[in-house]
C-alpha cells in the first residue's frame, strides 16, 4: 500500500515508439486531467543510450560516446513498468507539461534534460539507468 509511481522513480516504457526505453517520472497525475482522464505521468527518458567507453578511447572519442539523447513524454500508467530503481535528477523546473505544447519549447527542454542526464552519466552513478535493456 505504498505509493510507488512517484517522481524520481525509474520506469520502463512498454508501448509506443519508445518501447523498451528507460525513463524517470518527473511528475505524476494520479487522477488524470481534463484532457487525459486516466492516471498518467510526465516522463523524461533516454532515446539513445550512451555507447560503451573503453580505456583506449581518446578524450574526444569519450565525449562523443557519452552522449545521451532524451525524450519527454506524457505516458499512461498502463504503458509503464515501474522498477525498484530511482534516479535523483532534478528535472522539475525544466520538464513541464507546458514544455510539450510547442516544438521549440520541447526541444529546449530536451536539451536541458540531455545535459543533466549526461553529467549524471559521467559521474558513473545510476549505471543501470544508462544501460540499454536487452530483450
Amino acid at each position: 500500500m505504498v505509493k510507488f509511481l512517484k517522481p524520481n522513480k525509474a520506469v520502463i516504457v512498454l508501448q509506443g515508439r519508445y518501447a523498451g526505453r528507460k525513463a524517470v517520472i518527473v511528475k505524476s497525475f494520479d487522477d488524470g486531467t481534463r484532457e487525459r482522464a486516466y492516471g498518467h505521468c510526465l516522463v523524461a527518458g533516454v532515446k539513445k543510450y550512451p555507447s560503451k567507453v573503453i580505456r583506449k578511447d581518446s578524450a574526444k572519442k569519450t565525449a562523443k560516446k557519452s552522449r545521451v539523447k532524451c525524450f519527454i513524454k506524457l505516458v499512461n500508467y498502463q504503458h509503464l513498468m515501474p522498477t525498484r530503481y530511482t534516479l535523483d535528477v532534478d528535472l522539475k523546473d525544466v520538464v513541464t507539461v507546458d514544455a510539450l505544447q510547442t516544438k521549440d519549447k520541447k526541444v529546449a527542454a530536451c536539451k536541458a534534460t540531455k545535459e543533466r542526464f549526461e553529467e549524471r552519466f559521467k559521474t558513473g552513478k545510476n549505471r543501470w539507468f544508462f544501460t540499454k535493456l536487452r530483450f
Partner: protein, 112 residues
C-alpha cells in the same frame, strides 16, 4: 503427511474467508484490474492461482513488492479460484480492496 493434512484445513479456511470477502467486502477480479489496484494503492491482498503464466505471476509479484502488498499463491488453478469466488468463470488473479467482515488480510500474509 502432516503437511498435507494441514494444507487441506487451511485451504478450506482460505475458501471460507474468500467467500466472506465476496459477500461483504470489495474486490476486483482479473489481471488488468489487479495491476490497477496496485498502482492506485487500493489493493490490500493479491491472490494468484497456481496455473497463472510465470511471467504474469512475476509481474504481479514485482508490483506487489513495490507497493508492499502481500501476495498469496492460491492452492488451486484458475478454475478453482473462480469457484472459490462463487463465480462461473475462471479467475487467475484477484485483488482484495476491502476485506469487509473477513480477517483474510490479518491471517494470510504470514504464510504467503
Amino acid at each position: 503427511m502432516v503437511a498435507a493434512k494441514k494444507t487441506k484445513k487451511t485451504h478450506e479456511s482460505i475458501n471460507n474467508r474468500l467467500a466472506l470477502v465476496m459477500k461483504s467486502g470489495k474486490y476486483t477480479l482479473g489481471y488488468k484490474t489487479v495491476l490497477k489496484s496496485l498502482r492506485t494503492n487500493k489493493g490490500k491482498l493479491i491472490i494468484i492461482a497456481n496455473n497463472c503464466p510465470p511471467l504474469r505471476k512475476s509481474e504481479i509479484e514485482y508490483y506487489a513488492m513495490l507497493s508492499k502488498v502481500g501476495v498469496h499463491h492460491y492452492n488451486g488453478n484458475n478454475v478453482d479460484l473462480g469457484t472459490a469466488c462463487g463465480k462461473y468463470f475462471r479467475v487467475c488473479c484477484l485483488s482484495i480492496i476491502e476485506p469487509g467482515d473477513s480477517d483474510i488480510i490479518k491471517s494470510l500474509p504470514g504464510d504467503n
